[in-house]
Amino acid sequence: MKRWGILLLALAGLAALLGSCGGGEDEGGAATPGPPLVLPDIDVEIDEALVAQMEDAVAALPDPLGDNDRDQIRSMIGLPDAFTISFERSGEDGDGPLVRYETWYYYELNTAYEFADGALISNLPMDAVDGLVFLPKKYDPADFERTTTWDEIVLMLSDPDSFVPRELEAEYEVPLVFYAGEQLLVVFDDEGLFYVETVPLTAEEES
């Protein structure tokens, strides 16, 4: 079987390009392609023997659990080492359905997965990281929802008193509140949790 103009990054690339080159949202709030994608025209043969070996390899994974790609990946290879979450409104006037965008980083796999409402939209290579990295592993993306309050986040922290809420000055007329510390950055808007990022840290080499 031969295919022309392959879905080059069907997992990694296609959706990646959606994310990086022009993904938007349609009226229903789902991610949609932006500008036309230009993909290399490379001939690839589907090697049935190779596919059979791949089936065998995939079968070695733990059984996927969960209703969406995100939860299934989590069930197979575990929690991400770091992640970002943003909640963004779709729709014509930014008042459509809420979309939960996530990027999960797996340092051992050198792989980042991006999701929109749990659906895998990209599978991307991370840059290799050498040296000592302190991973923010005490956080679980499942603990962060649009409705998550600061009081609930406090329960995840070892020293919540060191976090100080900061609000934007009144002149901006936007009630955003942000907190940073313990390898965590969270931002709330007037509807709830707006942005989460867990931050790995590296020990800088002495120059």
Binding site: M54, V58, A112, F134, V164, A180, P200
Partner: protein, 604 residues
Amino acid sequence: MMREQRPLSLKARLGIAALIVAMLIAAATGGLVATQTVDGMGIVEALVGRAIVRTISHKVEEKADRKAINQRRDAEKAQVDQQQKVLDFQRGRGWLDQTTHQQESARLVALKKAIDERAQRERQIVSFETRNNIRSEFERSAKDALTVSTGMNPRAIAFADSLLRGEKPITAAIDAALAGGGEVVDPRVQFRDLRQTLSQVEEGIRYVRGHAGILARAELARLLREMGGPDVTPEEAEEALNRARKLGEDVEKAVAQAGAIKKDLLPQSPGIDRQRFANNERWIKLNDNAQALKASKAGEAVLAGLLRAVGERAEALLAESGVTLTDEQLLAIAKEIEAAYAEARVKEGKVLDASVVNIDEIVRRVVNQQLALAGLEPLETESPTPASQETPSPEAGETPSPEAGETPSPEAGETPSPEAGETPSPELQETPSPEPTEAPTPEGQKVTATGQFTNLSGYGELTANNMSLTFSSSGGAVSGQGHAELIIQGGSEKCPDGTWIDNPSRAYKWDIAVQSGTYTTETGELQGTAQITYREEGSCTFPPVSWNVDWSAAMQAHKIAGQFQEDCALLKDNLYSWPDRNFECLATISATASIPFELTVQGP
């Protein structure tokens, strides 16, 4: 009764110690980053605030842009509606015939639709740009803010500072635990606080990237068990405490090597290279084939990511050797890794720690096997942490001891975990000894000695038996590996899934990896530690099991005779407590209690 403990080599301890130093820093800072400053609104807040101001401006711009787009759309559609009204008026007056009216009306309907579609596209672009701008702003702001905060938070830095200044908080804690103040005090009470500290360290090790902390975690877990169990006698507890003291001393010794851990702990922004594989034809082929799988999209994604990661690592490791791995071999590695995840999930529950599988180690092992097949030297082992690799800086204090300056032990960094995966495919597992070389081995040159385990009889024919050691003729570190296989037929066996197999055929396989070793030229003695990994395959397959052993040998002329000291009784006591595992000591099939070997030095 306290069991005899096999002492870890100093190098191994330093490897562990370096990890612990790092983790103590992490544990002591309560998460490393805190943004509160004594001056209230500080630079951190200003930076984050600035970013959010930008974010707001993006949102305001987006809203304005959306509004402008919609206003233009509405105005244009109003114009079209006006034109339609004109057409309707003209038709009503009979100035237009019906056909022309219909044609013009259809054109206007299409025009309105086109206006809507264009506006939608424009809104999508605005939305996408805004999202990207917000994201990039936060990436920048997080980096700036957290960099500053780690540099500004005195509490976060204090502990690291104390270590780097040469203070000995761990030793002090242990001394306090040991000091009885002239009174007879039960050590189990004395070291309660110390135990709590070590528990925090053990927990903290989870936060270090990668698998390298597993040995340290195991060592600490063992210490904690020995220190706190209800059945531990005071003598046993005191012995454990003394070992903790030794570990603490090693930690502080490692501080000299940990000079590279600076005060600043910087946010590590995971870089994503969207183009790195865009033209990698091999991966494209593998990925494209992965699309033909019947597996879930998530399964495909994991496999595709694994193949990319494994392929890239192997390619880098083999870059200078001229050796390449086939697609099948890459898949075999991926399968081994995936099986390791599966086993880890069984062991750890539904929510895994993604770092539980040491992908680097698995790839490196297979690469070394392929290098051995090609008659090439194996890759050098990696140090467990950068800290242990660093040459002590002059500011860091003491002059390193000879031991501290030795090649970092692979022990902490290269230990395959028992859950590190199932047996690789046979073609990957075969590791014949390199062909003997006739090259002279002058002083200071690499020496390779190859041979076999001896006196292995057991209950069947060995189908594989080889071993090799490599070291410098001028002395120093020793590396090596060995492999033995035995085919067993008959009896009955209970598989991990609970089923019984009658008259099973199974293969016992032992892989031995020398983890540390030293060759002393003056005495001709070699000694060190090694890890034995046992796999059982056949009618049913058991998870692999690994354990550590000491080894020693002596070289005379071109012959090396030695043995691995395998305490099978101790192993049975420890490892049989693991569920669903089955193993045989290599010494079980030996005519002696140990595992003897004889090697011949290659060369004159």
